[in-house]
């Protein structure tokens, strides 16, 4: 329980944790999914599992963009960048994600022009400064990030900047939740909704989860107290046999979302008929591509894309972990061949991936306890 010392409001944390114990029916097993990878990270980092009764199980959801990206898409992006005219740009998170022939960073070591940017707007500036090269931005992310890519593309179009394109891997959260609810081996009682995705889409898009599926949702902030309060919210609903959408993160999330961001997305993107998700397979209308009016800035239309499909390394069980069927440490490669330093699967790459979070906090803690026990 050493993480508790770091909590800002320890009394409130203790009180909320007690409230959770009071609300949880001891004869019932609860499976609550936190959709967002940021929440997964916080849950492990703060050791929140220790504050919950054993019959509340937190299932880690698909909300880590790096983790759900199939390896074939990385290979496709890198294939475009084999062209010596192309500069490959991406966020730092992407750089260590393994493709079949290595990660973007490993390609850089072999001579490919690979550069980290912290904003899509900076990839655009790079294109302005290098008129004789083509700058490709490898875009990933949910609705939190997609509006920024959209504004960048609108600017490229307004400037008639023709040496810039986006390799679009933006995905949308709602179809992924639907796929999880439709999956026969998944039984989820309630959801902790993503915080920053919801600043863009608002709370309305979750309403069907309550209405049609009868599952409570609490859109949550990222502090330990936020997450615990969200668990209280959904437990109260489950106890009363109700299902509604509650906004725990009101201080940041407006119910209606961010209209300017939604407008920008609608101007630039349309839904793909289907898109492959690592671990979840093909999900219809779950990802974005550029509209025809932006074809000139669409890497997939400007370049030959091999359309690679790669099955994950057989021994790695990313799919099962991603669906919550296996816990990270139950994967055969966990902690041996697959570590944050040498990731085999994408769940180990990002700090928001459940394997990396589990490795960094839970696994190290257990390893330490075991070694102390063996000395004693």
């Amino acid at each position: 329980m050493k993480f508790v010392d770091e909590f800002r409001e320890p009394e409130l944390i203790t009180k909320t944790s007690a409230e959770i114990r009071r609300l949880a029916d001891p004869d019932r097993h609860y499976r609550i999914m936190e959709v967002c990878g940021g929440h997964t990270h916080a849950i492990y980092r703060f050791g929140l599992k220790d504050l919950l009764p054993a019959n509340i199980e937190l299932i880690h959801g698909p909300g880590c963009p790096v983790c759900v990206l199939p390896m074939g898409r990385i290979d496709d992006g890198l294939a475009i960048a084999q062209n010596p005219d192309v500069i490959f740009t991406a966020f730092g998170d992407m750089m260590r994600v393994p493709g079949t022939q290595g990660s973007p960073l490993e390609h850089k070591a072999r001579g490919m022009d690979v550069r980290i940017v912290y904003s899509p707007a900076d990839a655009l500036k790079l294109a302005e400064k290098n008129p004789d090269r083509h700058v490709m931005f490898f875009a990933i992310g949910f609705e939190t990030t997609a509006p920024s890519t959209a504004l960048t593309l609108m600017r490229a179009k307004a400037q008639r900047l023709h040496n810039f394109s986006v390799f679009c891997n933006h995905v949308t959260i709602i179809p992924a939740i639907r796929a999880i609810l439709d999956s026969p081996d998944m039984r989820i009682d309630a959801f902790i909704g993503p915080g920053h995705v919801s600043t863009v889409i608002g709370c309305r898009p979750y309403e069907w989860i309550a209405k049609n599926e009868n599952k409570p949702v609490a859109v949550s902030g990222f502090e330990p107290l936020d997450i615990l309060q969200s668990i209280v919210m959904v437990l109260r609903q489950l106890k009363a046999d109700e299902a509604t959408i509650e906004n725990q993160y009101k201080r940041v999330v407006p119910w209606e979302g961010n209209r300017a961001a939604l407008r920008a997305m609608a101007e630039v993107f349309e839904l793909r008929p289907y898109f492959e998700w690592r671990g979840l397979g093909f999900i219809s209308q779950s990802a974005l591509r550029l509209r025809e009016s932006y074809a000139e800035w669409d890497s997939e239309q400007r370049f030959q894309v091999p359309g690679v499909r790669v099955t994950d390394p057989k021994a790695a069980q990313c799919g099962e972990v991603l669906k919550g069927v296996l816990k990270p440490h139950q994967c055969k490669l966990f902690g041996n061949e697959c570590t944050p330093e040498h990731p085999v699967g994408a769940l180990m790459v990002s700090s928001e991936g459940s394997c990396a979070a589990y490795f960094n906090y839970e696994h190290r803690k257990t390893a330490m306890v075991t070694s102390i026990a063996s000395v004693a």
């Binding site: 990878g37 909300g63 790096v66 998170d93 707007a121 500036k125 509006p147 502090e223 700090s351």
Partner: protein, 116 residues
């Protein structure tokens, strides 16, 4: 990558309504305000920033809370690195698109502030 970084608007440009200079614990960078065009911030307002774009206006208290959350999550350093990396034309010696080789000696000066 879905965590947002809090910052204060310190400079606006009348000829570029969608641009502002934001101060994040002492580090100042230009960010894009296009996502707030329905309700543009004024000087002194606090915003949450994600990949170089301000995505929502927040209160000062929430901004302080958010920076504390980033610290508690062990993400403050990555957040500052992200902010330092915005706008590669400034050439601050970080590992940005402009300057692919990282250079030593860039610390996070502002993080010494009490509340950060």
């Amino acid at each position: 990558m879905c965590l947002a970084i809090p910052g204060q608007v310190v400079e606006l440009f009348p000829d570029q309504p969608n641009t502002a200079v934001i101060d994040v614990v002492g580090v100042r960078r230009k960010v894009n305000l296009g996502l707030l065009q329905d309700n543009l911030p004024v000087q002194g307002d606090w915003v949450l920033i994600h990949v170089g774009f301000a995505m929502s206006k927040i209160s000062e208290a929430d901004a302080i809370d958010q920076m504390r959350t980033l610290r508690a999550l062990g993400e403050a350093e990555a957040a500052m690195q992200e902010v330092q990396g915005y706008g590669m034309e400034t050439g601050y010696g970080m590992e940005t698109a402009e300057n692919p080789e990282p250079s030593p000696g860039i610390l996070m000066p502002g993080l010494k502030k009490d509340w950060a």
